[in-house]
Amino acid sequence: MAVTPKTYSIFSLARNALNYHQGWQKAWRDAEPKRDYEVVIVGGGGHGLATAYYLARECGIQDVAVVEKGWLGGGNTGRNTTIVRSNYLWDESAGIYEHAMKLWEGLSTDLNYNVMFSQRGLLHLAHSVHDMQEIGRRGNAIYLNGIDSEFVTPQQVREMVPFINLDCRYPVHGALLQKRGGTARHDAVAWGYARAADSLGVDIIQNCEVTGFHIENNTVKGVETTRGRIGAGKVGCVVAGHCSVLAEMAGFRLPIESFPLQALVSEPVKPILDCVVMSGAIHAYISQSDKGELVIGAGSDAYLSYSQRGSFDIIEHTVGPIVELYPIFSRLKMLRQWGGIVDVTVDRSPLISKTPVNNLFFNCGWGTGGFKATPGSGHVFAHSIKAGDMHPIAEPFSINRFNTGALIDEGAAAAVAH
């Protein structure tokens, strides 16, 4: 049974402080799998937990299990660079990423969990005439979709980032600014959704790997897991890094290839950078976490791999331009480096779709930029699973577009790694 969690507030904080913090309850139960659920969600990352939360909260389906092979948020949810933005070129992308942005703006209150969403502003640098044309086209497209988007001059960039080296090997000719863009605490997003979903009755089952699907008459009836068979009326696969592996278990292929994408963080320093700066042309983006670490996102490796490592030469190609643009960072020590596996489609847009198997839905292929979409992705996917038909915002992201040719080409706006 679900337990009603005590609300987090300034009063609960004070009360627990007086009690030496002995009184906090667990944020979610460690559920044992039941025999059957109305819906089973495969994948306990941000998108999967968000899907479960919106199923329970808005779609009236509380009989939901989230099965996760490792621990919550231990995949790409815990491996990204926490950037949130909605400055995409095409209408379909604007639809889903802006939908997510609007949910981000109320998320901490909605979940009663501080996801540390900080709209600190996001700069996308242009280093050449070609870059200027790209941001010119995209900036206007974003603006026409009713999303905030401003062109700024090199001088304005300098006002925001005083130590930037504008006249270097990668001269800055201008930038696209999304003031509502920023960052959020990635772990908190997974934990907040998990806690809120759990309180609505969702079973969260960790250390439970899906090893196959139970399919009868081309209709999914449940999943085989390392903790036994779990029956399900509908199954939603919300995985990053392994969606092709799951699809193979279900007997079909996806238009996806998987690559390692790296990030690294520096030692923590005092506040120096209060916005996010990204640069697609040189595959480097940077922001400062609340802990003080500089979080640097690199490009992806160009060969297919599930190794969660990534190559040294990619780090070199990322750190080189960072030091060129921000010479002040050259003496920083890097503390950690890691890789995540990104499932990339050829048009750099996700798959939110029905599949050849009835009642089996996939939400995957978010490539190098899924974190920012977490609330919107979960929201439209939950409604699609409930209805058995895709939500209007999700509709264009069908797997079928690779047969009809209605691709959503976000190669440029995805900004990195291509």
Partner: protein, 100 residues
Amino acid sequence: MLLIKCPWCGYRDQTEFSAQGEAHIARPENPYDLDEEQWGDYLFFRKNPKGVHYERWVHSHGCRRWFNVIRNTASDHVHATYRPGESIPELSDEETNQPA
């Protein structure tokens, strides 16, 4: 970083090469007869396995010639490389079933 044996030049650093995706996908002989399903499948849908992968590489910063690689995508271990048109080297059961 991988060490890859170019069938013409010998062992070289991975940065000299470019990966070009799944190997042994034959272009349809009758493209005009294909329906959307088949054409999309040929162009975009891939095996993307976690495990043994047959793929094409090109020695871009070397001899610029194409060849095939058998590599385990879970461990990044390169099992074999071979020239286009050569018969596909057989892997031992142990190699094929390497734990992911």
